[in-house]
């Protein structure tokens, strides 16, 4: 195709003709907007892009994108998307899922996708609640959360999705926030350029059933002091004047450094050989420490669909056989 035929698409081109049906004020709008912006910036083509989702408010996402889309069943998007990617590795396959969809019913497919390093880009909308079913606690809701199904407070400990992804062998693990558009767009772009599984946990406000779940650190006033931007090969600094930092002791326990000690702030390396530093950050107490966003881990490793494809292509090349050869094989005999 000549490039004349395909001028670069704009954000608007990625909008489908369907009315967007999230509650007014829902964080999903901001995410949709950022994804459309990033896709346009990346020069993606509509017909090469496939968006696969499970079930949940977030999983309505594909309907609003004028690309190929499949709104599947609860929790199974990564499994279905794996079939898509294995069948046609050329396609650009995105998975949109929620904290219930990916972490609760879909937990198994989630961890196996991470393990295999299938080239899927997973956007996990974490609003720490079941939105679509009208407000039950999810596996990422904090302990004590009062919801319809936990009238006396939930007794479950929550998952740290980043830690789970790391434990499962995730090769690109990042976090972003719905309302921090440019950062989110940058995460989407980095996820796009990664060759294996990319997973972005996106904190998303559900203003109906869990309003303000993240305002403690996302509110304009709190942001500077409470968000830690992870930047590759830069020290872990935060605060309005970048006057505080995170360092690790000999046991890899984090602590906050200030003033003269600021130089001890750990220099972040998202490509580290070991997932231990990322794990240390992922399990930091949100109440005590700033909340890290950005890339926790990026590791280059051949992806699954490539290995599968190569095996098939090699087999075809090494052992060409007609269907007749295949059927008329082994011990055959003739009856006259």
């Amino acid at each position: 195709m000549s490039s004349v035929e395909h001028p670069k698409l704009t954000k608007k081109d990625f909008k489908s003709d369907q009315d967007v049906r999230w509650c007014p004020g829902c964080g999903d709008y901001a995410i949709l907007n950022s994804v459309q912006t990033a896709f346009a910036d990346l020069g993606k083509k509509l017909h090469e892009t496939v968006i696969i989702s499970g079930i949940g408010c977030s999983s309505r996402f594909p309907y609003y994108m004028d690309t190929y889309g499949f709104h599947t069943i609860h929790g199974r998007a990564p499994a279905l998307a794996t079939g898509v990617k294995l069948s046609n590795p050329e396609l650009d396959v995105w998975v949109v899922t929620g904290d219930g969809d990916a972490m609760s019913i879909g937990g198994n497919h989630f961890i196996h996708t991470m393990r295999r390093n299938v080239g899927l880009k997973i956007l996990l909308f974490n609003n720490r609640i079941y939105g679509l079913t009208k407000g039950q606690f999810s596996p990422t809701s904090p302990q004590g959360k009062v919801t319809k199904s936990s009238p006396l407070g939930s007794v479950d400990y929550p998952f740290a999705p980043i830690a789970l992804a790391l434990g499962a062998g995730g090769t690109f693990v990042a976090r972003a926030v719905d309302i921090l558009g440019p950062h989110l767009q940058s995460m989407v772009k980095q996820a796009d350029s990664h060759n294996g599984t990319s997973m972005i946990e996106i904190y998303q406000n559900c203003n109906i059933f869990n309003d303000g779940a993240f305002t403690g650190f996302t509110d304009k006033g709190a942001r500077d002091e409470r968000i830690l931007y992870l930047e590759h090969q830069k020290p872990l600094l935060f605060g309005a004047n970048k006057d505080k930092g995170i360092a690790f002791d000999a046991h890899f326990r984090p602590f906050i450094v200030e003033g003269d000690d600021l130089g001890k702030a750990y220099v972040w390396d998202e490509t580290s050989d070991t997932p231990a530093p990322a794990m240390a950050l992922a399990t930091m107490d949100e109440e005590v420490f700033p909340v890290p966003i950005g890339v926790f881990r990026r590791q280059d490793k051949p992806n699954f669909e490539y290995a599968v494809k190569q095996q098939v292509e090699t087999a075809v090349a090494n052992n060409k056989q007609s269907i007749k050869d295949l059927i008329y094989a082994g011990e055959i005999w003739d009856v006259k």
């Binding site: 496939v50 690309t67 499949f70 069943i73 499994a79 998307a81 079939g83 294995l86 269907i323 003739d334």
Partner: protein, 629 residues
């Protein structure tokens, strides 16, 4: 005399220099799981197939876990029947039983024919062996073996003797005793030894010492039988008069896979298998994993749900998604199959049934998942269901599944079972160039400014277009929510929902328009029509043919297509006074037919994990015939 499909012991025969000619023989090898009975049976089968006999086999191995040596749960058996005429079953009672230890004897002596040959390995009749088999008295001493032609051989000692020069240790030598026994049987039934020699050389190519030892043991057994004259005569079975063609011995799972690959090749639609291992379906995964050189992509998923979802993803992408499993796995796939029905994508679900419910008896056979195939999903979710009835038939059924799934854009459930999967028979190989056409059409690139309509239907088949992601101008969204016909947009409109419910049902119903006429064995009307589906076919055919020879007005017909049912089925049923339906379940197809046609179909049910015995079917039908008159 044309052979009848039953064995009469080793007595009827023509003499010729000590060789009697039989028209058929049933042999059962039984021993400990470690005794190599499956290998032995398999070698006898291959050799015999190559010699032109018709043949049918029934491997019957123990539960999944290897039981302690010498105990009853550890007994593994392999039955084979070969003949000079067309047969349908591996036979009911054996003429020859090889029992490698007391447990094997105890488990199988009950079925040996009166006056049958019983070959015992005396090396394993020590007190401890007897105890493990829960014998309190040595059965060789208490008269319980009277009436059989007992041949006692210390196979272990004989084998070791034959292998004195081998470098193997005693354990290795003892492993060859099954070949010693095979040698004896090869002499007894005048089988050629070369095919086995070749096969063993190939199988143990990297271990020449083992090849040599096995061949020596076999030769020694052969020589022993010839020299020692333990048998007064030897037997031979003339080649069967089978239709001209090229043959190969095949097992059900193999044939099914070949059918799928052949159809994929014909229709130029690449295959994708998403699977999770489960007995007795795992071989489908193994087999197709070996066909990567035919472009087949296989994916061993983390569970059955991921397996079927990946297959749906593949179908969405333009490959043909297949998923293979057994009953419990189908249960797990139910929700996703519903999605495929809603998304109107092709999908093939292979259910190699086993004995349920729940984990049940995984190595035993049953056909009790038919109603699950029909109804095992939420909502009105009709699905095409077809079944294979023999190992060779599985090829055609695999092929047919691809044809239907791609022509109608529907999921197809294929039912097989453990008996078909593991049993083998000679298969007349198809003329590859004459295989039926399969035409697969993907939606062409969209026109600019024309919105693609993902649910616009082919007026004949009601199939929607197969639009591959990556194709320009076809971007669209699908999903499990109800959708408006034609546009595919989400719709909660009551009339549209009713219309879509009806359309999905209609699409399945239209598959019946493609079906060939039902051809019963026997007359098209009469007293009794025996219907069958799946693996009982052999036992039913045998029983009905015998009854026909006895002059009864009985016919039988077999259904490959269970949903939709053939259009001409009702008329056929109404042409008989009584319709009987033997099934290895509690009457599942029978109840479907009763509900649909209000015909008083009589269910003949057996649910014990075993295939029907053709004699039992014959007796049952004889009673029915009597009642009808």
């Amino acid at each position: 005399m044309t052979g009848t499909d039953t064995t009469n012991g080793l007595t009827t025969s023509t003499l010729e220099s000590g060789i009697q000619e039989l028209d058929q023989v049933v042999i059962r090898f039984a021993g400990d799981s470690g005794d190599g009975m499956q290998l032995t049976g398999d070698q006898f089968t291959r050799t015999t197939a190559l010699m032109g006999n018709d043949i049918a086999t029934f491997p019957d191995f123990p539960a999944e876990i290897r039981a302690p040596a010498g105990t009853l749960p550890g007994v593994s058996a392999f039955q084979l029947r070969f003949s000079s005429f067309d047969i349908h079953t591996p036979g009911d009672a054996p003429d020859v039983l090889v029992a490698m230890n007391p447990a094997a004897l105890k488990a199988h002596i009950g079925q040996l024919k009166k006056n049958g040959i019983l070959l015992l390995n005396t090396a394993s009749f020590k007190p401890l062996d007897l105890k493990k088999a829960t014998y309190t008295v040595d059965p060789r001493t208490d008269g319980s073996l009277d009436g059989y032609r007992v041949i006692e051989i210390d196979l272990t000692a004989r084998t070791r003797e034959a292998l004195t020069e081998s470098d193997l240790d005693n354990r290795g030598k003892d492993r060859c005793k099954n070949m010693y026994a095979l040698g004896i049987l090869y002499w007894l039934f005048q089988r050629e030894v070369e095919p086995t020699q070749k096969a063993l050389a190939l199988k143990f190519a990297k271990k020449p010492a083992i090849v040599e030892a096995n061949l020596k043991a076999m030769a020694a057994g052969h020589a022993y039988a010839e020299t020692v004259e333990i048998f007064q005569v030897s037997y031979t079975v003339a080649p069967a008069k089978m239709p001209a063609g090229t043959y190969r011995n095949i097992m059900g799972n193999q044939a099914l896979c070949l059918g799928l690959v052949a159809a994929s090749n014909q229709g130029n639609v690449p295959l994708f298998l998403g699977s999770y291992p489960i007995t007795p379906a795992s071989d489908v995964l193994h087999q197709l994993s070996g066909y990567k050189n035919h472009g087949v992509v296989t994916f061993q998923a983390e569970d059955e749900i991921a397996a079927v979802c990946a297959a749906i993803g593949a179908s969405y992408t333009g490959r043909l998604g297949i998923t293979s499993t057994s009953g419990p796995g189908v249960a797990l796939k139910a929700e996703a199959i519903g999605l495929a029905i809603m998304a109107e994508l092709p999908l093939i679900v292979l259910n190699i049934q086993r004995a349920g419910p729940s984990t049940g008896m995984p190595t035993k056979t049953q056909q009790a998942d038919l109603l699950q195939a029909m109804y095992g999903r939420n909502g009105e979710s009709p699905m095409v269901v077809i079944a294979c009835s023999t190992a060779a038939d599985a090829f055609e059924v695999g092929y047919e599944a691809v044809r239907i799934a791609t022509k109608y854009m529907v999921p197809v459930m294929v039912l097989s079972d453990g008996y078909i999967a593991n049993g083998s028979e000679p298969w007349k190989l198809p003329d590859v160039d004459a295989l039926p056409k399969i035409e697969v059409n993907y939606a062409p690139e969209g026109k600019p400014d024309e919105k693609f309509k993902p649910y616009e239907r082919n007026p004949e088949t009601l199939a929607r277009p197969w639009a591959k992601p990556g194709t320009k101008g076809l971007v669209h969204r699908i999903g499990g929510l109800e959708k408006q016909d034609i546009t595919g947009n989400i719709s909660y409109d009551p009339d549209n929902h009713q219309h879509m419910i009806d359309t999905r049902a209609d699409k399945v119903a239209r598959v019946a328009n493609d079906l060939p006429p039902l051809v019963p064995i026997g007359e098209k009307s009469g007293d009794v029509l025996v219907l069958g589906w799946g693996s009982p076919r052999g036992a039913i055919t045998a029983a009905v043919t015998r009854l026909q020879e006895q002059g009864h007005k009985i016919s039988c017909a077999f259904l490959r297509h269970l949903n939709p049912l053939p259009n001409d089925l009702e008329a056929l049923m109404r042409s008989f006074k009584k319709v009987v339906l033997p099934e290895l379940n509690k009457g599942q197809l029978a109840s479907m037919l009763r509900a649909k046609y209000l015909i008083d179909v009589k269910s003949y049910s057996q649910v014990n994990g075993q295939p029907f015995q053709s004699h039992a079917v014959e007796d049952y039908m004889r009673n029915v015939l009597q009642e009808v008159k």
